[in-house]
Subunit: 477 residues, 3 copies
């Protein structure tokens, strides 16, 4: 189907920009590996394959959904709310448009698949895979593209001067909000409630004791052993870790974080789509801001999280996960305004981002919303702060600078937060709630106890499974 | 040794293309990490270091072989079958040629090292390392370069209009075919035959039971325990996994797959070597096709593999490995024609690719060819399908389009498959068979039982090893 | 704060070079993941998170230090020894300079963070984290920038024609030297001395026995079991590995090495900062040299290390770690001269590099300097050899070529080695020694025995910890 623009060849300037976008696209897609490692390392070992397969489905189903419908909704001649021009669905008319929509498609596909992957973390360890696949299609094919239509596709927010450079609102707030709603509707993981209560009791009994030393009966075991054999005691302690709610592999968590960080340099820097911009808004400064904000977030989070949450103790001094998630919220926070802030502002934005992360952890804990990988604190709360930060620090229209329209500008940033939460919250909650009523959202209690990797991915005979199902009950309200 | 072209400087257009090729080269080399992780995760833990060291040798020995001789055979003024101009061996005359052979060398080195690495997977867990190193040299220095001379170096296939854009025939079919021959000549891993028979017996006894629950005695143990203590039963079950023929770490498998996928975007997109091509054949569309075909392959494979092979059951619903290998065969299948097909064709090619993968698994199983990482189903069968798919879907000469020469074009695609299999099959089988006769191909039975990591890479005293060797017998026919 | 150069836009040539530098920067930053995996895999499991968090701090603290002060010392209008122009501190005047210092900052930040990360390996498993963070700030903010001022910032060495293309002296010698001094001042890990003595005794008793089979009591256990149950014997053997001084995960080591290798192609190739250079010194040839030198180093090291150190035996034939570190020293060695040597010279440089690595291991062993990840043999000894190699093989000024100034050129290479070691050795030793006197350098013996991950990162109650502290004594001289 050769269209009128089939034989167009790049000019030199277009080619230079194309190289930058092509490389950035592939490296943003590399985020899939980063999220897979981060999430896999953060869950319990017995559910590690189940979270990996979700991330793979995000990439596979997401690309097909975004190809068939998502891109059309996001960019198909958007009037105000949503696009619909047939040329943009299933790439059917990409050669009928003067713009190079192949290049735009791959770049925005890489973004779209990220938005879905964020959700998988919040729903980890207890969601039926079929439901998740359906949600992934819905998210990449509809919920997310509508927001893109508003902010980047020429829709109502963009028309009013709303600024979201590389997707803090469009991607992170959307993904984080959907994850939050899903986690809230799903309910906590089996055993989490008891674990939380045990922690509180122990905390009252002994304030100085490490908060990560979770279950009192394990604690007693170690105490009993400690007089005879340290080595044995620690071995037992390690064995008993396996069912506790803690990351099962920090190496995966850290490697995943570093991959995400590297990819983020392309995520933000590549969003210029153009090398021929003023130095003050160019990719080099953007990458500098991104590095500084991420660093600031990491350092602040690792030093304040345990102290603010009251879990600090001499033997719980350093929290590697807080450093990772702090760096990530620093990266999230700068995503919206990295093209229009100074490095000192990036530093402040990252530091405050870390506080939003800690507040997010606290609030989720109070609401009993169980997010195994802390995706909602990072992406939801980070998405809110990053959108606000744009309103404050933007050196063209921000509240801290002189611009006649800065009040209006700030107002649209807030309106965007409200509308995106309303849209994503409503649509995703509707989906999750419907699936819940149909009994398709949450896995059986029996599966949750033995772990998804064994129960669904081969390994145990059906008779045994049926027996466990009968013993443990077949569902959790 | 300054040659006449030492001081040549790129034009702007050349520099733009050079940046694209340089980045693509480095990212294709990143495939070494992807294959290392994928293969390491797919074998048993006791042989994990042994497969890693093979992948490292592929890179190290491959670069030296390709530098000394391979590049000369592939590109040294090829008449028809093989090159031989001395300027191209050991890069001795790269500054005497107007073309930038430094750039071409690094790009083709990255390709060549991939071709060797594919083989290491098929031979895993039972090949003597010294033999493997020799094969790696032969493959990168001679077998593969000859095929390159035919298809890309100006040889007889290229002269007749044969099209292999990014190496489906040249790299994947070559690597997959050599791996298949090696695995067939090596024979199955120790214990595999018994394992297969046990599975068949159990399958007859209880069709509904999970196929991955491998050994009946393990099954009995769990049954015995299940009335007293689930927890204990599953722990025993997990311990007994260690000697079963299944991937030992899915995180490595998935991370490796995602790294390969990212690198594949450069593998295919970078093969343009040129940004100044018509939009309909440019790198952006190529990357779009690559993403869609890989996604389609993954989704189809994960849903059909267990059903087609009769191993599906309620407790074996999702197969993460099938999703990974399905995505990979989707990527292989599109490699040959990604510059000349439409996205809808890429979708179909990926879907059919998944069926070739399943067929490959079935055929290898029937032939009792033991390929621990399923490299032959993916690269050999994928290579065949990808070469055929070019003949069908190529929008310039394919059977589904109007071109006067399409019949002839399709014929050369088939001829290429036949000739490549004949060439690689003969040369690699000759090598493997000779080594087998000399007793240098397969490791001792004793080493196979205790695992290569312990037996060859330090850890056990020689006395113990000698005793085991006497007890188990020193070789396997 | 819009400066006079805020609105400068790249020319096409500048944009081409900028794309190359931007991509290289991000991929050099990816080295953080490579070092994290390599170092984590090389230490004992009980300290794996502690080394990961150090690497994260390197990136976070390093970026802030380099932003606030480091870049100013390195590039702030250097007269001879150090820079000081206020425009370069905290990026305060980047828009007052015609040069694009945003781009230079991100590129040199990626380098600077590498220099600090090298040190973390040498100090692994026994350093207090707070001290390490302080050192990381000092290294990235002062020690390393001063050397940059000398070699790249326009300082005295650069003025005299000293050549260090991509940082063999400036980064690897600096990092390796600081690591060596730190490791020497810290002292050996607890148990290392006994382990070394046991090895020597066993070595005398039985020359043929594998050196990696570390402790004689484990050996006896296996001997006792071997007559009844192989399987059980090997399981016990594996369990007892956990406290031995060997890498705990080879997959991490190899993946980390391959990531470093990929990043190194950008590290060296990207250091051109410019595509418009003569072919004989261009990025393609640089990458070719880098690949060949790394490969040569890997192959030589894996075959000679065990033989030269006398640890070779039939059951200890292949040493995956030696292959990795050999490849790395090959990469280090070529870093200084990759723009001005021929591929054959790269091959020789890599081969000799491997000998320097083996010599480094031997010398550290003789000096009882305990470097858990062999960072000093690779980066310190490789840094020395790479700086010398530039003096020998540089095709413009090297001793093996005809140049009137080659003697003087070689002299400055040697002077650079001496001065860098003097500067880094003095400053870093001063820091480490002061911290040691203050009791802030080394962790408690009790923590060392139970492992940093448990003792400092949550998991054990304070009572238990205090008891252990009393039993084991609270410090190690």
């Amino acid at each position: 189907m050769p269209g009128p623009y089939s034989n167009v060849v790049y000019s030199e300037r277009e080619a230079i920009n194309a190289v930058w976008v092509l490389v950035s696209t592939a490296m943003i897609f590399f985020m899939q590996a980063g999220f897979a490692l981060l999430e896999c390392g953060s869950v319990r070992a017995k559910n590690s394959t189940s979270i990996l397969i979700k991330n793979l489905f995000d990439a596979c189903v997401g690309s097909i959904a975004f190809w068939l419908v998502g891109y059309g909704f996001a960019f198909g001649d958007v009037k105000s709310f949503i696009g619909g021009s047939p040329d943009y669905f299933a790439s059917s008319g990409f050669e009928n448009t003067p713009e190079d929509h192949y290049l735009l498609w791959i770049f925005h596909f890489a973004f779209a698949s990220t938005s879905a992957t964020i959700v998988s973390g919040s729903l980890a360890e207890r969601t039926q895979l079929n439901s998740y696949i359906m949600f992934s299609f819905l998210q990449t094919g509809f919920i997310y593209p509508v927001v893109v239509a508003w902010t980047w596709g020429g829709g109502w927010l963009q028309q009013r001067g709303f600024h979201d450079f590389a997707g803090v609102t469009t991607i992170h707030l959307v993904g984080g909000c959907a994850g939050f709603c899903g986690a809230a509707i799903l309910g906590e993981r089996y055993g989490k409630e008891k674990d939380r209560e045990a922690k509180q009791r122990e905390g009252e009994m002994n304030r100085r004791q490490s908060v990560n030393f979770d279950n009192s009966h394990h604690y007693q075991k170690v105490i009993n052993h400690v007089n005879k054999d340290y080595h044995q005691a620690f071995k037992e302690w390690l064995v008993n870790q396996s069912d506790e709610f803690r990351p099962h592999n920090q190496t995966y968590v850290v490697t995943g974080t570093l991959i995400l960080w590297v990819a983020w340099l392309f995520f933000n820097g590549g969003s210029t789509n153009n090398l021929f911009v003023p130095r003050a808004n160019g990719p080099a400064k953007i990458i500098m801001n991104t590095v500084i904000s991420g660093s600031a977030g990491g350092v602040v989070a690792v030093f304040v999280k345990a102290r603010l949450l009251g879990t600090y103790s001499f033997v719980n001094r350093y929290d590697c996960g807080a450093l990772c998630n702090g760096a990530l919220i620093g990266l999230v926070s700068i995503t919206g305004c990295c093209d229009r802030v100074e490095p000192w502002a990036a530093f402040i934005i990252g530091c405050i981002g870390a506080l939003f992360y800690v507040a997010g952890c606290k609030i989720l804990d109070m609401l009993h919303v169980d997010d195994p990988v802390e995706a909602a604190p990072v992406h939801f709360f980070g998405g809110v702060w990053g959108t606000l930060a744009t309103g404050f620090f933007d050196n063209q229209n921000g509240l801290f600078y002189d611009s006649p329209t800065k009040g209006q500008y700030f107002g649209y940033q807030i309106l965007a937060i409200v509308c995106v939460i309303a849209w994503v919250g409503t649509t995703s909650s509707l989906f999750f709630y419907t699936m819940k009523r149909l009994g398709l959202l949450r896995i059986d209690k029996a599966i949750e106890i033995i772990g998804l990797d064994i129960a669904e991915m081969g390994g145990v005979g059906e008779e045994i499974y049926e027996k466990m199902r009968r013993d443990f009950g077949s569902s959790i309200a």
